[in-house]
Every structure is written in C-alpha cells, then in structure tokens.
Symmetry: D2
Subunit: 376 residues, 4 copies
C-alpha cells in the first residue's frame, strides 16, 4: 500500500487527537494509504521532542516552514492555535501538500478566503476538522435527514455549554489557556464552540441567511499568563444567536463557558413536519428520534443506541451495545479524507465549507457588537 | 341518576385514596351511579369524626358490624389493616353489599378462599383494589400485549423498592406502622409490595406455576408501639423470587424496604420475541416500548408520554402533555367497578383474581422459609 | 368556617382546572374559607348548564355583568378567552369582588394597566393564574434560589414546545381553536406559552431590561371556523427571544407549536456560579439540581423526586414516591390565594406582577416585528 | 525502556480488543515495558496471517505449543474459545510466561484449579481479563465503596441482558457462534455474561456463600455449523440466581440472550445503609450515586459523568465531558498488569480470583439443574 507521510504542527490537545487517528486507522479501516508519522513540529523544541517520542514521530521540527519545505511530507496537519492557521495552511498549499486544519478555519473571513484561494489554486485535498460530523450518531442524523424522513423543517436549535471558566482566578493566555486570549483565539465561545454547532447545522439544515446575536464577557479582566498583568478579557464568554435558514426554518443557538454543571454539552435538535431528531455529546452514542407517523399508542422519542454494525462507521469497531469514544470521530474523518483523496474527491467540510461557518461566526460577533440583525 | 351509598371502613392512607375517588369521579367520568359518602367507620371515634368531616361523610360509625347492618349502605369499602379484611368482607357479603377491599386480599389463602366463597355465594360485585392496573400506562401495556405485539414471551421481571425502614430506631406496630407488625400485616414486603407486582404479572402474563424465594429480615428486633417493648420483627424486610409462568416464560421479582434511594420504585419489564415493554412508578406517565420490527437504523426504546386523549382513561382528564397523578388510578378503578356493576359484570381483579395473587404470595413466603421450589 | 361564594366565567379547559381546585381543596388543605360553587357563567347557555351540572354549580348565568352584580358572589374567576379578561376583570373589581383571572392578563399592556388600576383602586384580592409557579418542583426551585444556593446567576433559558398545529388542515377560531385567532388571543405562542416562561423567569430571576425577538407564522392562511373562509393567520406560530436581566444574567427563550415530538414541553434552566437547576413539565415531579460544591468524584446532576412530605405542598397529598398531576397546581394556587386573602395579603402573581409579564410579551412581539432590541 | 514480547493466541473479537490495547497504551500511559507484538497464533493460518498483518504482529504461528516454546515470547495472551484456556495457560505457565487469559477462566472449577496451581507454581504474573472492572465508572464505584460511603450493604443486583439469539434460524457452533456450542463454551449466558456480573460483585461486595438458580434453554434445537445437523442446544439461554454474600447482603442476578431491546445491557446496583450506586454498560461513562446524607430538599440520584481528570484513568485521555469507549478498559487493564508485573505484584483478577468466579458459576449451573440451593 502506498505510504503517505504526515507532518503535524502543534503538540496540544488537538495534536493528540490527530495523532491518535493515525495510530488507530490501519487496524480498523482499509484506507488507500498507509500513513506514516514522519515529522512533528512545535516552536517549543522540548515539547515537540517529548510529543514525538510518545506518539512515534520519526523526526522533529521547530519551524513549520522548514517542515513544509521537506519533500518527504505529503500531508500537513495543523493543530496550532487559531491565529496561525492561515499562514501555515497557505504555505502548505503553496508547497502542494494535502492539508487537514483544525477548526475554526481562521481568525476571520478575510483570512479564510485567502486560505480557500490557496488550496483551490494548488488543487490540494483540504479538510477543516469539524470532527463531530463523524460521530456515528451525528452521521446517522444526516442520513435520516437526507432520506427525507423529517419533511419540511421548522426549527433547528443547538447549544454548546461548558462551565470551566467560571472562576475569576483563572488566568488567560499561554499554553492551555490561549482560548481565553482574543488575540490568539480570535473569539471566545463563538469560534471555539458555536463554530461546531454552526458547522453541523449548515451540513444538516443548509445555509443561514441572517443572524442576530447577544454576546457577553462575564469576567472583564483576568491575569495574562504571558504578560503577567491583569488585562481586559477580549473574548466572548457567552454568545446566543437567532437565525433564519434558507429552507425557511428558524435557528436558535447558544454557547457559554458559564453553564454550571455542563462539561461539554453540545446538543442539537431539529424539528420537521413528520419527525424530529436530537443528539447530545455527553451521551454521544445515542440518537433520539421521534416519528409522528408511528401509531399513536406507541409513539414516543426513540433512544437509538448507535452501536450496531449497520450504523455509520460502527461495523468497523466492536459489537452491538459496545461504545466507542470521542477520539474515534477523528479516525473516521481521517479515513474519509484518505479515501476521497485517493479518488481525487473533496472531503467535507473542505476549507470552502468551513469558510461558510467562519462567515456565520463573523456575522454573529458583529451582530453581538452592533445589536442588530446581520445578513450572512 | 341512581344514588349509591358508600360506607368506608378505615381512616388511614388508603381511606383517603378511596374517598378521593368519590370526590373526583362525577366531574370526569359518566358513571351509572352517583356515589354518596354516607358513612365513615373507624374504631377510633375521634379519628372517624375528623376524617368524616374532612371528606364529607354524612354519618360516623365505630363498629363495622353496625355499619354493614345499615340498609342505607350499598357499597362497603375496606381500607383497614390486612388482618381485618376477611372478617369484614365476609360480613359485608352476607349482608348483600357490593365490596371494594384494599389489597392484599387477606392474611392467607385460607382466609381468601372464605372471602371468595362468601362474595360468590352472595353474588355481590366485588373488587380487590390493586390500583396500579389502572395507571394509564399500565393499562396501555395490557392493551399492547393483548394485541399480540410482543409475540412469544420470554421474560417478566418486576421489582418494588423502597428505603423507609432502614433506620433501626423505627418502631413497629400501631397506626401508620402496622405494616411492620407481622400479626397485623401477615407479611412484610411480600404482601405489601410484591403483591402489586404479582397482580400485574398475572394480569399481563398469565398464571405462575412454581416459585422459589429468598427472604430476609435485616433488622431483627424493633420496639413495638403498642406493647412498648423491644420485640422480634416477624415480617420479611426483603423478598426475591424466581418463577415460571404457564406460558413458558421466566419471572424474576424483588422487593425490599432497604434499597436506599428508592421511594416507591415499582418497575416491570416484559420481553417478547418481537417487542418489549417497561414501566416505572416513579415516572408513571411514561411507557417504554421497544419494537424489533422497526427499521434497524431508527430502532430504539420509545418513551411514550401517556397523556393523549386516545390513551386509556386520558381522554377524561386534561390535554396532551399534562399529567395526572397516583390518586387518579383509584378514580379509574371506581368508575370501571360502577360501570360493570350496573351491567352485572365482574370487575377485575375480583376477589377470585386476588386469591390467585394471595396464593402466589403464600407459596413465596413458604419457599423463603423452606428454601425450596414450591408449586403454586 | 366562613363560606366564600364563587362565580366562574368560561366553561372551557381552564374552567375545568379552576373548578377542580374547588372540589379538591377542602380535603387536602385547611383554607380559611369554604368555597362554594355558586354560579357558572357562559354566553352559551346550554354549555353553561351542562358544565354547571357536572361541576356542581348551584346557579347558571349567561351574562357576566349579571353574575358580577349578584351580591351572593364573593370571588370571580375568569377563564374566558384573552380578549375578554380586561372588561370582565374591571367590572368585577368595580363590584368589589375578589378576582382570579387566567393568564395572560390581557391583550395588551394598555388593557393590563387599566386592570391593575381597577383592582388596586378597589383594593380587592387579585391573582393572575400562572399556575406553574405552584408545581412543587418549581416552588422548590424558587426556595433553593432564595436560599442563595446558586450564587451569581449567569444564564436563564426556557422553552415551551408543542406540536399540535402543524397540520395545514387545522382551522382557526371558535371554541377550542380561539388560540389561533389573533383577534381573540392577542398573540400566538407568546401570550399562550412564553407568558408562562416569562412569569416563572421574573419570579425566579428578577426583572428583564431588554429583549430581542424573532417571530414566525409558518402556516400563513387557515380556514376560519366562524367566518367559514380561508383567512390570514395573524398569530405567531413560533417566537424566540434573547434578553438581559437586571441581575446581569442572559436569557434565552423559545416557544413554538411546530416542534414535532413535544406535547407541552415547558423547560427552564438556570445556571449560577455555584449551582444550577433544571425543570421539565413532561416530568413535572422531578427537579434537576447540580451543585459544584459537591466533592468532585460524586458530583453530578441530581434528580430530585419531589414527592416527600417536606417538599413544597407535598405533605398535604400522598406518601414519598407517589406523584400528583398537573391539576394540583391549581389547588395550591387557590389555597395560597385564600390564605393570603384572609390575612389581607396579596398573592403573587398579582395583576401588577402579571402586567410586567404582559409588558415583556408586548416588547417581544414588537421586537419580532421591528427586528430590533427593545427596552422593557 | 525494557521491551516485552507478546504472543497472542486467537484471532476473534477478543484478539482484537487485546491487540488494540497494545496499540494504544504507549501513547496514553507510562507503562514500565514497551510491549512488542511479536507473534500471532491461530489454528487457521490464513486467518492468523490476515490478522497479523492488520495488527502488526511480526510473526505468525499456527500451533500454540510452538509459540509458547519460543524464547522471544514474554507474555502469552489467550483469547481462544473457553475449552482451550486451561491447556494453553498451563503450558504457558510451565514455560514461565506471563499470562493474560480471557474470561471465563475455564470450563470448570477442576480445570481452573489446575490453572491456578500451574501459574502459582511457576510464579508467573497472571490475569483473567474481566475488563469491566476497569471501566472508569466501575473503578470509581469500587473506590467509593472502599471509602466506606455506603455503610452496611443490604442488596446487590446485576443483570446482563442481550437479544441476539432470539431467531430460531441462528445456527450454533463454529467461528463467531461457538458461544452457543456447549462443548466449546462450557455454558451459555452463565459463563459468557453472568461471569462478568459475578466478577464485579465479588470485587465490590465480597464473597458469595450460597446460590439458588433457574436456567432455561428457550430454543431446544439448532443446526450445528460444523456437523451440519440439527442438534440439541446444550447451553443455558437464560439464567437467574439469588444468592447471599458473606457480608450479609442479598444478591439477585439475571442474564439472558432473549431480552428484546437490550444489546449488552450489563447493569449493577448496590444498596447500602447510607448510599447506593448504579451503573449501566449502555452508558458506561456515567455512574449513578445516591447519598441519603444529602440535605433532604436536594437529595436525588446523581448522574456523575465520569470524564474528569481526577477520575480513575481519565486523566490519561481527553478533557472533561469527552468520553472513551469500550476498548479503553483493556488498555487500563494492560497498563495495570504491566505496572504490577514490573514490581512483582499480582494484578486482580488473578487466576485465583477468577477461580472464585468460576466456582460461583459452577454452583449456579448445578443449582439450575438440581433446583436447589448450593453452598459455594
């Protein structure tokens, strides 16, 4: 089988999920390439070396430009903080590399457009890693919708609730806390959490035409880990928005890191004329399905335990009743990417798809500031 | 409409549920009789008077014989402790009264047989108040089973778990605590709780052929409220049993008052070749239904919210989505009893039906003592 | 005990819930008045007579003015469609009657202000029947919040989802369908459903300072039952809004009658610094409570089965584990009203409290039309 | 780091779970050995080669004796059908290899005793793979019990319900269906499913003193895949048993492959004087915990989402809220085994521990046949 050399940039949480996918794929899927963990790259050399040793990368780099320049790298994976995606991805595209970039695509639509232009000009396979699309229950939701089971859609609602930044003592910036630093993250919950909700929504329910948002920063100042000073917090701690979809349905989205009791509660629900669907990341192996066409006496929300062999991706894993976890969604994503790449086909969400999510996010942030509806 | 004079004996918890049924029935159902609360009876005159005043009984008695002798009483309701059921019911039958008797029917099969003989000789309408049959979700379960949806039955399991007697300081006997006094109650959880489970099982799944039980009294001695002395506890604190049904299915039952965290968790589940059903008294308005004939991708346990107008009894109450409570099952029972009585039809569970439950309970207690299988 | 004569106007669904409260109160509570169902009133005489017969009203009226003029009426209950509340309530106030009026208070803030002025001028006890405040789990939520358990509040979210108007064949107007006729109802889901959510929110979380809403009418035309013609639908089929509370927290509300799978799913959740609370009308006897101060290894959402004797109102009903239903909330409301009236105290929500809910609803509708934030 | 060469026998479902553990361990844990997949062995050479290629085994064997004789094998893993465990394990012990053997330990107590004697004589690290002990929520349950939070234990109940053998068309024997062939499996649900329940119970609640069981074979004859003939089914399709534990608590266990609607529903619940615990394999990342010492108004079952870094094993994986799956329990097991082996310590469940489970299973099967209580 043809080998595909991987160079991964960024040694944080997402670096681990992407690396793990390479460790698991060959045993469970029949991808057309055998991926090789050729190079790990991080500006912090010590960190890169330790990460490389643990994950089995053959070489270590500290300058992404150098890594991208190497001929023995076929696929570049970008798992660095948001403010570096554009620069790295454009360089990788210009070098003709395949690219998998963590979400959100960029800091702005403007950056995103350049990235799209770059990958499309280069004609390289590209993917923005909105991994939740490939949780089997979510993929099943897409399948049920595509079969037309829901009929005309009336409502889409989603939220992504967390509670890890409630303490006023939590600093911002640096390492694990760059997500609180607006210069690095671009935004707060909008780019980090709502972006996931929006990506899924665009996929399941089509385009958004307009949005109206409310944003808030509950803790106005936090110590900055890098400067050591108490600085203004620039991110949105919470963001809600209403929207309208092209198909005439209404959307309602909310995200926050101040919802005590929720660790990573990403939920969505879609209500159609005939049927409805609900999903929840805290119990990701279940899909709730209601079908009004059931006989009235036995009509109710069905809790589908998405672990059978005929369900998306599940035939590759264990047996009915036995679950997979969060990390497996990245394995599915990688496999789909490789299968499509081998056939010259794009894998959604491409950079272009992710740009649409970026656009919605940007309008949401603007709407929050201007307190007005914004056309997408 | 014809009036029906009611004489109720016993002013405890069950006296309240039965009286409430008379207060609610006329506004929600169209029973063929207008019931009149003519007489309340309790050996404790003060209690009887207070209860009578609160619940609107027209007269008060302290001797049940006297009340039964009255010509202006048509229906006798027995809500006294278990050890008095037989005597009162037989007297009422001999006086030609209609009878509704709280469960369990009696202290023993021997007593129960005499009660059955008495009501059948007298030809009076008679009912043993196993009220859970008439919780709408349970009635719906019966309907689904009768429609043959489940196919061949393999398993029936039920339990009734409580936690209110765990403290060693709790005394036995007297008033609210007669249920812990074996002389008054006859048995512990078997007659109090398992009897409910068995009644439902016989109704939904047919007769039991043999049982094998394990019983235990965790707290061996408790102060007795009447004697004031610490006395041996004679009741079963916990009882489990395995059984076989006539239809070839296997049964598993458990009851205890030592299951920390459960207030009155009566649950049952029945597994058939094609479909299964589950119910739970803590969320009594929901029926869980699984049908294997559903398409595999959308197959799951359905949570049916039993509040629609086409569901058993629910058309009489409010609107879809709005629940009724525990007490309404007694209203349903009373209405069915009156409708059938007017037409000369029996209402299940009759004393004869309840005798079968008594028989299973008795074999269960014997099996627990002898540590051996018992034929029912 | 002092008698209190009741005159009730309107024989629909709400007429039943209010009448039922009078039938149940004396057996379960110790109110300072014995209420007497003295007169029922409906413009449809036949309906009034049948209703009066079933519910035990002593007399029948067809003109509310006549009924209000009667000296033997102490308490007027208004359960007619929304467009009649103001006129009747003002007349009742001027006649010096106590008043319980179904929600929403009125068609508009303007009407509501006149109603408030009338009852305050007359000094009569007055209550707007937002019954969900007195579901025990909701009352318990209020108690937990008042104890300060939640700390600083960050988020309040609520929705009220139904699915009964999805069919395009459903007509509008007349009898049971006046809720779809804007001239009679004033608005659609905003006044019918969101009003409940707002009332609870104002009670639990304090005042709202500004709102921004999105409204939609999915089915634009329906046959009108009274005119017999296909007419434009004037109500809002769905309404979402974002808001800010005086305490600095953010609110998100949604209501619709197009959420397939939900019958009457009123849910709310409130997230505080230390603890969070959730409730759901489909399982109304449960309160979900999360407390971050629990030890981390055993920290989780607690499902509190609100049926114990020490929980709000529950000591009056049955025993732990056994539920009450929807209708009992009206009994609680009536009892609180009578207790307070006897002591010369107001009972919340008074007309003045309900006016605040009306104001929020009106701003919400305006915001939906103008597509802009509105100050409340 | 020291290398440890692994030879694995058996290329079925369990061969995959064990192999996967070796693929994942190094990236997530810091085991004292680096395991090397040195040899795969299966009597079916083609199967062994394919499996070896997919899972990265360096060499292939078809005779387990030959593999065990190899000096370059340090750890033997046995994932073959039950009837081969004893022979292989004894040979491996005699060759001085470390051993991990799939459950159940053996076909009989007699076999098991020989296996225990062999490993203890040889002094080799040995483990019987009851993997569910190391699902984080189950490990957490053990921790809570060991802290004494539950107080005196009254009840232990567990069941393992499946529905995959209901069809009469399903054959027995050969490949994936050896679990239905009594000669190969030893028993049906008792050894396959109840063995898991018993292992967990002995671990969490201590020894069992006596059992009383009921067994059933619902489908009496099935075509045999190897002989091609319809043959009598020798396994138990369903098995329930009651038992008593040394600590005075009562046990109730049930397992079946005829519980329509359940794929692999392993649940257990333990009720103590102060607190109770529940767990369910269908939602394996949640532990239900009830503590009676909570304040009464906020007392309820807590749903603990076992994904935080301070919870057993979870600090090694992702972030709070994000789940792991079934397979990770084998990684935890392998890591514990290696850590202990390096320190010369046993890892539970050792063969001796598993022999106790075997003994309970054997008494259960005997009890089912003799219809009588059996001392363990």
């Amino acid at each position: 089988m043809k080998k595909l050399n991987v160079g991964l940039i960024g040694c944080g949480f997402m670096g681990r999920t992407h690396s793990n996918a390479h460790h698991q794929i060959a045993q469970f899927f029949d991808a057309p390439y055998k991926t090789v963990l050729r190079a790990i790259c991080d500006v912090n050399e010590e960190k890169a070396k330790a990460f490389g040793a643990r994950w089995g990368y053959e070489t270590v780099e500290t300058d992404y430009r150098k890594m991208i320049a190497r001929k023995d790298i076929d696929l570049v994976e970008i798992t660095t903080p948001n403010n570096t995606h554009a620069e790295i991805a454009i360089a990788a595209a210009e070098a003709g590399k395949m690219i998998i970039c963590e979400k959100p695509l960029a800091l702005s639509v403007e950056q995103g457009e350049k990235m799209v232009a770059a990958v499309e000009k280069a004609g390289v396979p590209n993917l923005c890693s909105y991994n939740y699309r490939r949780v089997p229950a979510v993929t099943l939701a897409k399948q049920l919708i595509d079969e037309g089971r829901l009929g005309r859609i009336f409502h889409y609602r989603a939220n992504f609730l967390q509670d890890w930044t409630i303490s006023t003592d939590l600093p911002q910036g640096g390492d694990a806390l760059w997500r609180l630093d607006v210069k690095v993250a671009g935004s707060g919950v909008t780019g980090d959490l709502l972006a996931h909700c929006i990506d899924t929504a665009l996929w399941l329910n089509g385009g958004v035409t307009e949005v109206c948002a409310m944003t808030e920063t509950f803790i106005k100042e936090r110590k900055h880990n890098i400067t050591g000073k108490v600085e203004k917090v620039g991110i949105d701690d919470a963001c809600s928005f209403m929207c309208r979809f092209k198909n005439g349905s209404l959307g309602l989205f909310e995200s926050t890191r101040y919802a005590r009791g929720h660790k990573a509660l990403y939920t969505f629900e879609i209500n159609g004329e005939h049927a409805s669907i609900k999903w929840d990341l805290h119990d990701p192996h279940r899909l709730q399905y209601f079908d009004h066409r059931d006989q009235s006496l036995v009509r109710g929300w069905r809790s589908v335990h998405v672990t059978d062999g005929d369900m998306p991706y599940m035939g590759k894993w264990w047996v009915p009743g036995l679950t997979i976890g969060y990390a497996e969604s990245f394995v599915h994503q990688l496999n789909d990417f490789l299968v499509n790449a081998a056939q010259g086909k794009p894998t959604a969400p491409t950079f272009r798809d992710a740009l649409e999510t970026q656009r919605v996010c940007e309008r949401v942030i603007e709407s929050g500031k201007d307190r007005a509806w914004k056309t997408v």
